[in-house]
Symmetry: C2
Subunit: 764 residues, 2 copies
Amino acid sequence: MKRLFEVNHWKIVETKLHKEDFRLAESMMSLGNGHMGMRGNFEESYSGDFHRGSYIAGVWFPDKTRVGWWKNGYPEYFGKVINSTNFIGIRVFIDDEEIDLNQSVVTDYYRELDMQHGTLTRKFTIQQGDKLTNVKVLRFLSVAEKELAVIQYMVTPMNYDGKITLVPYLDGDIRNEDSNYDEDFWVEINREVEDYYGLIIMKTKDNPFGTPTFQTAFQMQVNVSGKVEEISHSNQHEYIENKIMITAEKGQTVTLEKYVAVTTDRDYEASQLVQRGKEVLSQSIEKGFDNLLKEHQDGWLKRWEMADVEIQGDAESQQGIRFNLFQLFSTYYGEDARLNIGPKGFTGEKYGGATYWDTEAYAIPLYLSTANPEVARNLCIYRHHQLDGAFHNARQQGLKGALYPMVTFTGIECHNEWEITFEEIHRNGAIAYAVYNYVNYTGDRDYLHEYGIDVLTGISRFWADRVHYNKMKDVYMMHGVTGPNEYENNVNNNWYTNRIAVWTLTYTLEVIDYLLKNGQSDRIAGLSLTDAELSKWIEITGKMYLPYDKELAVFVQHDTFLDKDLMPVDQLSPDDRPLNQKWSWDKILRSCFIKQADVLQGLYFLNHEYSLDEKRRNFEFYEPMTVHESSLSPSIHSVLAAELGMEEKAYEMYNRTARLDLDNYNNDTEDGLHITSMTGSWLAIVQGFAGMRTANETLSFAPFIPSNWEKYTFKIVYRGHHIKVQVTNEKVVISQEGSAFSLKLYGEDVQLGENSSIEIALNK
Amino acid sequence: MKRLFEVNHWKIVETKLHKEDFRLAESMMSLGNGHMGMRGNFEESYSGDFHRGSYIAGVWFPDKTRVGWWKNGYPEYFGKVINSTNFIGIRVFIDDEEIDLNQSVVTDYYRELDMQHGTLTRKFTIQQGDKLTNVKVLRFLSVAEKELAVIQYMVTPMNYDGKITLVPYLDGDIRNEDSNYDEDFWVEINREVEDYYGLIIMKTKDNPFGTPTFQTAFQMQVNVSGKVEEISHSNQHEYIENKIMITAEKGQTVTLEKYVAVTTDRDYEASQLVQRGKEVLSQSIEKGFDNLLKEHQDGWLKRWEMADVEIQGDAESQQGIRFNLFQLFSTYYGEDARLNIGPKGFTGEKYGGATYWDTEAYAIPLYLSTANPEVARNLCIYRHHQLDGAFHNARQQGLKGALYPMVTFTGIECHNEWEITFEEIHRNGAIAYAVYNYVNYTGDRDYLHEYGIDVLTGISRFWADRVHYNKMKDVYMMHGVTGPNEYENNVNNNWYTNRIAVWTLTYTLEVIDYLLKNGQSDRIAGLSLTDAELSKWIEITGKMYLPYDKELAVFVQHDTFLDKDLMPVDQLSPDDRPLNQKWSWDKILRSCFIKQADVLQGLYFLNHEYSLDEKRRNFEFYEPMTVHESSLSPSIHSVLAAELGMEEKAYEMYNRTARLDLDNYNNDTEDGLHITSMTGSWLAIVQGFAGMRTANETLSFAPFIPSNWEKYTFKIVYRGHHIKVQVTNEKVVISQEGSAFSLKLYGEDVQLGENSSIEIALNK
């Protein structure tokens, strides 16, 4: 655990330059607006270790696969979010001596990420010789105008009259640190520069894999206050700059505003990029800095209005949940159905890919409750768009139907560990589950015939071909899979995978039945489902083997799990932890220790289909063997522990997810933030502490409050109702804006009138 | 299947230049003398596709590991046999036009590998304009003087008087085609050149892994017949050459003899390499070409005298077995206990590594019978030398004892697929088995206290720590292994692995008992075996779980094998074969199809511990599901089929092993020959057709003869007896040189007098 920042309800504040943990701090200070995002890099030059990173949503490159030994069926490339043009850069010279916080004496230093308003501010004073110079920088990526980035750079000579030279530039010569073969992914298409203006157009290199290339245009417009003595411009390959020399008197502030428009051919014809970017720039400059900032801040305030979680009595928890929501919304706010939520968002380039099953399993539940329904709908439609890719993946394995990929940009698998890519197929179940979850939550049944049924049918066809019939035992089985617990692999009859496969078939059959009865016979006919096919599905649902141990009365993680040397995690020496750093891979695989919820993941998803007793027995059996070495693990356990009345356990698990990055628990935040697991803290509060459930199209709550909290409040949207839930040590207050409707509280039906609230005592 | 060569009892003959299959032909024409070896490259320049390859035994490089995702415990490097200085090169110009068989008109062409005498000969006539030139080249790597290579290059102008320019050279600028990061592994240390002489000293680059570097000195001395008009020499970085211009009249043959000495600091101080090489050269030149050739040829004749297998009535089989023996002996003839038998020998650079379990499982049985006992002894001692490496490997996995590597040069694992490296641990059993096999065959019980007991104890300690106790079932189990059938992995309780582990423990306990009773108490005390340790071993041998199916009465390959969709190979479509090229890896893994003998490998090794009925039931169950996609598979099945009286099956399996490379069955011989599986054809004849067994220190035979053969004869050495076995359709004749002893023939005791023979009718 490493905490660089002050605990603060709304801010991430750093008051010391952390040269040794520079990358970690850069990750934490990331900004994003869904269209683009960047690590908390400095504008000015910095000679110490850092990781320059700015990323454009949906712009990626297929990096040629690197493996030790090729396995038949491997994807040819590993898709990567790619580091793009550095558009924030401003070099600063004081009387020709360059500012470099790594070299100069820094007499005070302050960096602040304002999560409430979505801005990054820096203030520092630097001493060069006797000269003291004060700098203040404000940066934001507008949520009101997605293609706009704004930097206000202010320099004040404190104790001298001098010459301030500012060099705003655009640098397209940027590479990914994790390129497999040290390749440059970009080529320059055009550059132009004049005084106060510059342009770089970069394009991703052609590739032999048939994936699209992307063109991105970066244009800057610069405003300067102060007495400009000289201005010039220059350029070189993949680089343009302005050079502006200003004389300033002691105490006089020189201000440079750099407006950058970032347009891509994902959105417009390539030939239109420059024109469109110029429009963004001219409109912005017309509005002026203050108005742009206000629009942007209002955008963030509106998001919080809908989604904020307030915690009283525990400032660390408060900061944690807000940081997570802030970074999630910076990454994705659902405006573009072609996009998804990468595991590092715009904060780093590790893992590659845009889309994991994390989206369906962990992110959609949050977006369903904290944003307009279109956001979750768009995330579901994203998978519909990629159905062809999923068919391709299944064919690659010689199977029918649709296999959604472990990692992808296009629907086509672009990861390459066989035990993951080929075997961790439970992901397919989560895609189907998301359709159910979306429709069940929103009531938007039209989604089923518009999009859902294609995805459900594709996935069901995959499962039906992937299982095999065991004659001797008269059951269907599924061999050679990796469950959510990646600390085992290539196992047979993983309970969770078998269960979610059967669930998919059952739900698909239900949806088909519903659509047939609701005027969609033609739609169903278009799917060419045969009677034989449907009969087979029904047979599989009846005869699927779901490992169960009668004596222990638990579902068995997979066929031979109980043959292992079973022991609780607390019998391990601290020297053994984390296992993934201390043990060789084979030892991890054959141990009983579980990386993340597996059987329990199923009890979380299909919560309403299992009794409390079943949940308790399985939780008590599996949780003690779980090391939670996936950032996705604790939240699921927190929710289940809360339901089982294990309040301390629920709170312990919440804490592991809420401040994962803020306190750098996994010692890897320098590589970027754990974006997709950031939903976990929200799930732990809303589904865990407050016990929110939505099964059977019914909203219900059963809140408790952690013993050290005074109060917590959160807001959700549910079927047009804007609901606010407040929980104190004494009572639960639920208020809403919307028409009257009924919900359940601690299992009892409760009526909530139009725009009203109710209050009941907290169950203890 | 692709056959480029004529069928011939003693020769591999090519009468056409195979430009399209040039690499394949180069592999086939490889030469080696244990100290060094090379592919059948041309001396003169060749502008078409080819693979230059010459290799020095024991000279390797640790190439930095390349993987997709790092797994804890992976080796940092992949050890590779490395391509070294091209020392055969001779450029040839006719009146300044260079000879290049890819460009010139070749009017006749002949290349011959003489396996009986170990020589490679080429003859061709080339037409340049109107000029016809005849070339004849003879090359050998002396088995009498290991550090000597000799080339005789003869050029005859057929229809003109002209100028022949010969440029013998040494080129150290050679790379491995399979370098992970396109690195050059060599640096030049020195070069010298004068008329008729040249020297290049190359050294492997320093590496960060702490493995040794190697220095190799190449020196050439050149003799020329004919009228030398001009001679000059020159050099550049990593390269030296002589240039010799000779005028020749029509019909007059110009001869160049190139003698090359190859010395390495594996054998001498680096400072002595040049001096030692010069001695080799001067002694050789003193002897003269004809004597050198005769010494070399005599060496090969002597090897055949001891080891030849003659087959009458089936020229293809005859050629196959001789080609295999020739290439095996070229790779390894046991003179150097620091060396082992690489999977491609000196014929290519794929797979890397020097040593696989192939040596113990397939090669030692052959060398035991076909060479002096020191050869097999040296192969066993090799593993003793590498015990420290094996301890290291076990520690890397958090385990006690010794884990011999899958691939190695030093004893330290240098392969990097976790399912192989970490899990295919049955290899450890084969190392223990080789100790038993050597001692049982030779009667050399001294080996046990001199070396064997250390290896056995180390391996037993590994097994005892690697198993785990299953309380519920009161058995010991072994989870997470890959058996010999690499078409499954990460399985539990692989019967073969469990069985060989128990066997190791049992045998080690026996050996300890034997040594204690035979004056080696101090030796045993030195092993620090505790009573608790020995008791645990005994307990494991009693309680090891060995999967068995009562209904089928077969040993079960691993825990859930019988749950698979079981079907014979012949139900597959030809389009599905070979599986490893047609199916994705996951499909292969969960199918029932077996790559190579697994349960049957155990029945082969521990043949004397199982009844014919057991062998038959298991053979009939597993063989139909076996695709034999490992080159090591058919031989084991041939031996067992022969024992079970399935003569046709035995012959079919023999054929798959005998001409694997000659007929390029696996379509990959261009990468190099399948050296270690070449023992298979010999095993199939001697242990299969002739039924040779040596269990319980008793030699026995039970021959049959394939229906299309007229006669086969082979020779073995057994405990000082030089035995010749002849089998015809009528009779079996066994003769020997040596003292009287008894053996078994078809299960009956037979006495064989001193230097005598016996004859009995063939059992039909």
